[in-house]
């Protein structure tokens, strides 16, 4: 399915905290073809002197009663100018939305459980992935870490879906005190090799740590990386990640088209 560029309207802007919001965009046609793990490149029409779009995982795909995709949302965290504009966006604003783009998560093999590991805004690809996994009857866990309990979002959604939740916070205000790798490492101990498909999205040091833990426990692991990206279509070679297939020579590949989802064991971490 070729990507579409939709001149989307902001349908809703729901603040989740001082830094996070969920922005709903009238890009149902993009949502209809999105597979969990894929992303969109967005640019608010209100931006004037910044040029490039920014990559966002498709967060929710919203559907009408007949099941037709009517909109998508993105999970946004204020960090720079574009994310500030997306935080401040008002209903009716226009946001150019190009997608779906990139390589999606691979479904688990027969008999495998699925464990999703999210750090902060890295929750973004797991709404669609959880929907897909649960619909396929796969036992699914979300190990989800944030700075504090106030930044753990959508817990009700995952609970209602029947996803097992394991929470961590850096300040200990909710769940386990510390990072997601603590419960991941502990709970993977003693499990049969190749029995759990681990999916991770979050800050790169977390992805590296998760990939190492999964490998040590002989579990497959896919990570979704975020690199500074120019175009999202493979044109600019900005967003490269170093990968090594087997014993081959490590080389840079474009995370927009070879990723953003990679086999965690193949990434050569900086």
């Amino acid at each position: 399915m070729p990507p579409l560029d939709v001149d989307a309207t902001v349908l809703e802007n729901r603040p989740l905290s001082r830094d996070y919001n969920v922005l709903t965009l009238s890009a149902g046609d993009v949502g209809a073809h999105t597979v969990a793990g894929q992303f969109v490149m967005v640019r608010p029409a209100t931006m004037t002197d910044t040029l490039l779009r920014r990559p966002f995982s498709v967060f929710e795909v919203l559907r009408d009663a007949a099941g037709t995709a009517t909109a998508i949302s993105i999970l946004n965290k204020r960090a720079g100018r574009t994310t500030q504009a997306l935080y401040d966006a008002r209903v009716g604003d226009r946001v150019a939305t190009l997608g779906p783009l990139g390589r999606a998560y691979t479904p688990p093999s027969t008999g495998q459980e699925a464990w999703m590991v999210a750090g902060g805004v890295g929750l973004a690809p797991f709404w669609t992935l959880a929907m897909r996994l649960v619909a396929a009857g796969i036992p699914t866990t979300l190990i989800y870490g944030a700075r504090s309990g106030a930044e753990l979002f959508y817990l009700d959604f995952f609970e209602r879906l029947g996803v097992r939740l394991v929470l961590t916070t850096e300040d200990g205000s909710r769940g386990e005190h510390g990072r997601v790798t603590l419960p991941l490492d502990r709970e993977l101990a003693g499990r049969d090799p190749q029995s759990i498909m681990v999916y991770a999205c979050g800050p790169e040091p977390m992805l590296e740590a998760v990939a190492h833990v999964a490998t040590r426990h002989h579990q497959p692991c896919e990570v979704s990386v975020e690199r500074t990206m120019g175009c999202g279509l493979g044109g600019c070679y900005s967003c490269v990640v170093k990968v090594q297939h087997g014993t081959g020579t490590p080389h840079y590949v474009r995370s927009c088209i070879s990723g953003p989802v990679f086999d965690g064991a193949e990434i050569v971490w900086d």
Partner: protein, 312 residues
């Protein structure tokens, strides 16, 4: 009557003046889902050396006001893999393939060009003597009148294809480089490559990209690029391919009026991969409004008479 947007670069006729800028369109095939490659005037692919290159460690780009700075470092698959893996597909798609040829030595430019010429199906050779981001080769030729002439002469000897050196703006007098290229037998020149630039992260006091320096592109550079195209157009008779921050038809027309026969679009394609049709439609609209039947009649039609004072 249908308006005629075709243009000629030496012996090469293009159906319209829009060419993808090298380094901004991958090897073209990345965009085949969103763009009919045969509908572009030309597809200029990413720079090629004899061998594969890894490029610089990321981060490779940083956004700046109305532009971006890049130092990709010419990551690429090399000419042999290009001929084997990409060129047949580009031919099949009906693309007019411009190949951006790189070299660390004059011999390498000639050898890459010879391989591409023998392969068949290449429309033109653009010589990258202007990449600001690699240590060896390239710009050492592009910043010297003698070097520019030597690379063009060497390549001229091994190909019948149009030879188009791509000029750097990082010189005092770009028109003298266009002259050197013409004298050495170039069929056209393309300009501008990016402007050498630096963006500092004031919080960390460190560079924003790994290579420290990079090349500035985007609308921020457009007026300087238009000026340089105009200077070259007054200096040489060979066609000029203009580029630098073109995002719409009006921008493209500025270059054409300044003397460009064709234009390349780079950074704007990152923002909007559907930019090509929009620019073409806009040029066609302009021609209709101004009752121009042939685009070639607009090349160099800039009138430097001072503007009238507008009373409001």
């Amino acid at each position: 009557m249908a308006r005629d947007l075709s243009v000629r670069i030496g012996t090469l006729e293009l159906p319209n003046p829009l060419i993808s800028a090298s380094g901004c369109f991958g090897y073209g095939l990345e965009y085949e889902d969103v763009t009919d490659l045969s509908a572009l005037g030309g597809v200029c692919v990413k720079g090629l050396f004899l061998t594969e290159r890894e490029g610089h460690a990321p981060p490779r780009i940083v956004e700046t006001p109305a532009g971006m700075i890049n130092a990709i470092g010419l990551q690429g698959i090399g000419v042999h893999r290009f001929v084997k893996e990409k060129l047949p597909l580009l031919r099949e798609r009906g693309a007019r393939v411009f190949v951006n040829v790189c070299g660390t030595t004059i011999d390498e430019y000639a050898e890459v060009t010879r391989i591409l010429t023998d392969a068949g199906g290449v429309a033109a050779i653009e010589l990258n003597i202007s990449c600001p981001n690699i240590k060896e080769g390239g710009i050492q030729f592009g910043c010297s009148l003698l070097g520019t002439g030597q690379v063009v002469e060497a390549v001229r000897k091994v190909t019948h294809l149009p030879v188009i050196p791509k000029l750097t703006p990082n010189v005092t007098d770009v028109a003298s480089f266009a002259r050197a290229a013409e004298d050495a037998g170039a069929d056209a020149v393309s300009l501008v490559n990016t402007f050498l630039a630096l963006a500092i992260d004031v919080e960390t006091r460190r560079p924003t990209i790994t290579n420290v320096l990079g090349g500035l592109s985007g609308p921020a550079i457009r007026p300087i690029a238009v000026r340089m195209v105009w200077e070259c157009a007054r200096e040489v008779k060979i066609p000029i391919i203009g580029m630098g921050g073109i995002t719409n038809a009006r921008d493209a027309l500025e270059f054409i009026l300044a003397g460009a026969t064709a234009v390349q679009i780079g950074t704007a394609n990152f923002v909007d991969p559907f930019v090509w049709g929009k620019v073409l439609d806009g040029i066609d609209d302009y021609m209709a409004r101004h009752q121009v039947e042939r685009l070639s009649d607009l090349i160099g039609a800039f009138d430097p008479t001072p503007p009238k004072v507008v009373h409001r």
